[in-house]
């Protein structure tokens, strides 16, 4: 098994980890983190596509590499936006949760929901 395949398989595993964290973690911040893990796994799989398509004396196909760079930037922008939303939710309600029912809410609820 060559290096590209090895990294490709770990990319696939990372997608699995990220997806699992995204589904099972209740806290929004952990979900964002898991989503970033998922994204980096997808980028890694794409990087392997680039490595395999090496030609003309290059180490990899530059087109997927440029796309991954753009993707990392856009993922960061989305993460920054998501974190700002979580912090605003905290400011507004004093809680950081995605669950809709407030029945089990603790004493920190003070917003008008």
């Amino acid at each position: 098994m060559n290096a590209a395949t090895l990294f490709g398989l770990s990319g696939a595993a990372l997608v699995g980890f990220g997806l699992y964290g995204l589904v099972t973690h209740p806290e929004p911040l952990r979900k964002i983190l898991a989503f970033n893990l998922l994204g980096s796994g997808v980028f890694l799989v794409f990087g392997v596509v680039s490595r395999r398509a090496a030609a003309s004396g290059l180490g990899g196909d530059p087109v997927p590499q440029a796309m991954v760079i753009t993707a990392i930037v856009v993922a960061f922008a989305a993460t920054a936006m998501a974190i700002a939303l979580v912090l605003r939710l905290l400011q507004e309600t004093g809680r950081s949760t995605l669950s809709a029912d407030n029945s089990g809410g603790t004493d920190t609820v003070r917003g008008n929901s």
């Binding site: 696939a12 997608v15 952990r30 530059p62 590499q65 960061f76």
Partner: protein, 313 residues
């Protein structure tokens, strides 16, 4: 088995182990620290995949900037008691099985490559000489897929507008609520005085060398942003209010120059974002310099978050 393949194995074990730990640990703080380490390890993996440009971006953004944002959020959420309980065991089991299936599907795609591997590398290299650039990734970013690069900068500004618009009306145009640790004679103050001159030179080098070698506007801009944040967090320079005209000018100067050159291309080179023959490299360098400034300011402001205080008159 060569040394390199042993190295790759070890790297993959570390990446998977730390990646899994960011999901498995209970403490959010530990998860974020794990994520930063994971980002740095992943950038080594990108070097092993011969994608040094991606490695630089991953280390700067994936590890550094995202990690900093998350640490800031964890610090604020520290005393919030979430009343969420983790998903029940059957749900977790089902999720685990389905996620394993997704991963297995991807793994199958990875280990069974197509007969003829499609590649655009020969086409990139064929026409790269015309642009005067030596780095094929920069060539793709600024010549063949220039529209993607332009829109990516617009996305950064849109995300910043989104973050700003989350501020309450009363503090609009105020000062972002970056947490400061202003203590004189601390190590942080020392580093904030020592590192920025070095960092700024490295950033300019990154931007300049990006045309020929790995590097470029984005990596340079990230270093600029990191230096700016360091100086602000150490309290050596105050955080500017978001209504400052110079701030907004710096924010849009890169995309505006890029767009202007793109529109000029419609007249001079018969296509949007095309460069007139012979002038491609100087124009690309000009765009990169302006973009480096804009990206630095945009990333710095994204990391400082929405305004939280009104500017004192």
């Amino acid at each position: 088995m060569t040394i390199l393949s042993v190295f790759d194995m070890g790297l993959v074990v570390l990446i998977l182990g730390i990646g899994a730990s960011t999901i498995a640990v209970r403490q959010a703080f530990a998860a974020v620290i794990g994520f930063v380490v994971y980002g740095l390890l992943l950038s080594i993996a990108w070097v092993r995949l011969s994608a040094v440009d991606v490695a630089l971006t991953e280390a700067a953004i994936g590890g550094g900037m995202t990690g900093m944002l998350m640490l800031g959020a964890v610090a604020r959420l520290r005393f919030v008691k979430g009343n969420d309980t983790r998903a029940s065991l059957p749900v977790r089991f089902a999720a685990g099985v389905l996620c394993a299936l997704v991963a297995a599907g991807l793994a199958t795609a990875v280990i069974s490559p197509p007969e003829a591997i499609p590649t655009l590398a020969p086409m990139v290299m064929e026409n790269l000489a015309q642009s005067g650039l030596g780095n094929p990734v920069a060539g793709v970013l600024f010549v063949y897929r220039a529209l993607d690069t332009l829109l990516e900068k617009v996305v950064l500004i849109l995300a910043l507008l989104g973050v700003w618009s989350l501020a309450p009306d009363s503090v609009w145009g105020g000062i972002p609520g970056l947490r400061l640790y202003a203590q004189s004679n601390s190590t942080l103050t020392f580093l904030a005085q020592l590192l920025p001159p070095v960092g700024i030179v490295v950033a300019i080098y990154m931007c300049w060398v990006g045309a020929k070698e790995p590097g470029g506007a984005f990596q340079g801009g990230t270093i600029l942003a990191a230096m700016w944040l360091l100086v602000m967090i150490a309290g050596l320079k105050s955080v500017p209010s978001i209504s400052q005209p110079w701030l907004r000018l710096l924010l849009v100067v890169g995309p505006v120059i890029f767009l202007a050159i793109g529109l000029a291309g419609m007249v001079l080179a018969n296509a949007f974002l095309a460069y007139p023959p012979g002038y491609a490299k100087p124009l690309i360098i000009a765009v990169e310099v302006a973009l480096t400034l804009s990206i630095g300011v945009a990333l710095g402001l994204l990391a400082t978050g929405p305004p939280e205080r009104v500017q004192q008159q």
